[in-house]
């Protein structure tokens, strides 16, 4: 049987000042880790949850995002009446040829500006995106310089709130409605009528076409027909897959998070080591006594490892609790693929919390190992004689 845990717990309590400092050290490292990871997770989430599995998106071959794709008028007309595309209630194809323009707008908080993605779409485009619901105001009408903005965007750009207006080029646009796209990537966009967008921003080309095939078999056939057509030079991708490709920005954030966490964790391991060396130094006579009583080296080692593991565990719990309130906090950064603003929310997932806990326990054990080994390997007599 092992040395009782309460022995370790009480020792932690007796020197509570050091324990608390070490605990907090670990806790803060875990908090930073979870925080940065939740930023990346939130960013990823907003893209990964975007789009309807049934929809196909057509882009120019080679383009990485709809903001740099170009599709000519003739191409649009050819696609629009292809067989196999689902119909709207009024019999017209469920297809939206869209034009994407980046517009530089002033941020609400600071003086800076950022590019916001303006999407010109056809009425079918709204039907193709059931994720987005109008929650305030009304739908835009063509020819009147009217737009609707996502609610999340309104929090970051005050000119995107209901009733406000903004200038882009020569034109003044009025926000007549606010939509909510369920925290998807569409929550970073401004929507307006496609024909008006093309004329106002002087766009000869469309950017992309979003459409819904009648069924899976039609989808496969349409994809093949379009991609095989040398004149169209287009690629077809499922709408959700397209957005999954857009998570490049999460890469550097994750990288940054890993870098930070690793270096900080080494610091935390040092702190645990310091604490454990000190406590073992002070308790080395106790270790000697335990050995005389017949406890083996392994039991001593495990006992001290458990003690530092416990430090890590509590630190991890505190760290996770510290990071938890961030869940759902809105933020935004640049999408490195489109150079436009993405608005999203921190996401502290259970998965991340578990990762944080494992990380903290790792720090505890890593910091405790060497000191525990010293304790276990000190010869009995030497341990008994030391002051």
């Amino acid at each position: 049987m092992a040395i009782p845990l309460k022995y370790n717990l009480r020792n932690l309590l007796v020197r509570w000042r050091t324990s608390v400092a070490t605990l907090l050290g670990i806790a803060l490292v875990v908090a930073v880790f979870v925080m940065v990871e939740s930023l990346a997770a939130g960013l990823k989430h907003s893209f990964v949850t975007t789009g309807d599995e049934r929809n196909l998106l057509m882009l120019r071959k080679g383009s990485t995002a709809d903001s740099n794709s170009q599709i000519g008028r003739m191409q649009v007309d050819r696609i629009r009446y292809m067989a196999g595309i689902a119909r709207q209630a009024d019999g017209r194809p469920l297809l939206s040829a869209e034009s994407v323009i980046l517009v530089s707008l002033a941020r609400a908080s600071s003086q800076g500006e950022a590019n916001v993605l303006v999407r010109g779409l056809e009425p079918a485009g709204l039907e193709l995106r059931p994720q987005a619901r109008l929650v305030e105001g009304r739908m835009f009408r063509g020819g009147l310089r009217e737009v609707i903005c996502s609610r999340q965007l309104g929090e970051r750009f005050s000119c995107c709130q209901l009733g406000r207006s903004f200038r882009a080029g020569k034109n003044q646009f009025k926000v007549v409605g606010v939509f909510d796209a369920g925290r998807s990537a569409y929550d970073s966009e401004i929507w307006m009528d496609v024909n008006e967008a093309r004329s106002v921003f002087d766009r000869e080309f469309f950017s992309s076409i979003l459409f819904r095939p009648e069924n899976e078999e039609a989808a496969a056939r349409l994809k093949k027909t379009i991609e095989d057509d040398r004149q169209l030079t287009s690629r077809i991708i499922r709408e959700p897959d397209y957005f999954k490709e857009q998570t490049m920005t999460a890469g550097p954030i994750k990288w940054f998070g890993d870098f930070l966490s690793w270096i900080m964790s080494i610091g935390a391991v040092f702190a645990v080591m310091n604490t454990m060396y000190a406590t073992i130094g002070r308790r080395i006579r106790e270790v000697g006594t335990l050995r005389v009583l017949g406890f083996r080296r392994r039991e001593i080692l495990i006992s001290f490892l458990l003690e530092s593991l416990f430090l890590g565990l509590i630190g991890g719990v505190i760290g996770c609790l510290l990071a938890l309130p961030l869940n759902g906090v809105a933020t935004g950064t640049i999408n490195l693929q489109t150079f436009s603003e993405v608005a999203f929310q921190f996401r502290v997932t259970p998965d991340l919390l578990i990762k944080g806990m494992v990380f903290s326990m790792f720090m505890g054990v890593a910091g405790g190992f060497l000191p525990a080994r010293v304790a276990a390997s000190t010869p009995v007599l030497q341990a008994l004689k030391s002051v």
Binding site: A2, I3, V292, R296, L384
Partner: protein, 233 residues
Amino acid sequence: MIDLVELTKLYRQGDIDVTALDRVSLHIDEGEFLALMGPSGSGKSTLLHIMAGIDRPTSGQCLFRGVDVAQLSETALAEWRSRHIGFIFQTFNLIPVMTAAENVELPLLLTRLRASERRERVEFALELVGLKDRLKHLPRQLSGGQEQRVAIARAIVTDPELVVADEPTGNLDAHSAHEVMGLLATLNQTHGKTIVMVTHDPRAAQYGTRQLHLEKGELQHDTAQASPAEAEA
């Protein structure tokens, strides 16, 4: 029970060899209460440590019921100690964060006893040393004499054949020392424990059934006590 054969312990200090024990041979019978005496640095503690299995001789044998303790591995030694030896220190060495009862219970954690059996034994041992009412006290809430009695309870709770004590009264006043010695004598006489005790105090040595003198690592003379100490006290 114990046979020491030509036991030698050398300490190498730079170029000089210090001979802590010089070919000590000794036989100890079951039920003896041996008082080990001698000037400081004569090797008493060293001898005790080797008998208790926490130190190894440079040469010679230390046979405990025919088994050469010095040949056991580190892990086997630990187990051997937990079964056969009870150790009493000059500085008590109780675990400060544990109560008296928990300190006494510690060696029992190495046995297969159930919790209830352990508690019974702990209470018995503490009753024996007269501290049944101090179960929940922490070491710092006890006097030195009481601490040493808790340490004795811890040493005997596993019912070991051999109890070794290194200057058990060294840190105690005369009254407490008398109590502790009385306790050891009772253990020896009533409970039949074999005891080896190092002491500087001739009065404490009187409690032993046999006195042994070490001088510069060599056994000087060996007196079996004619009459037990209680007679005088």
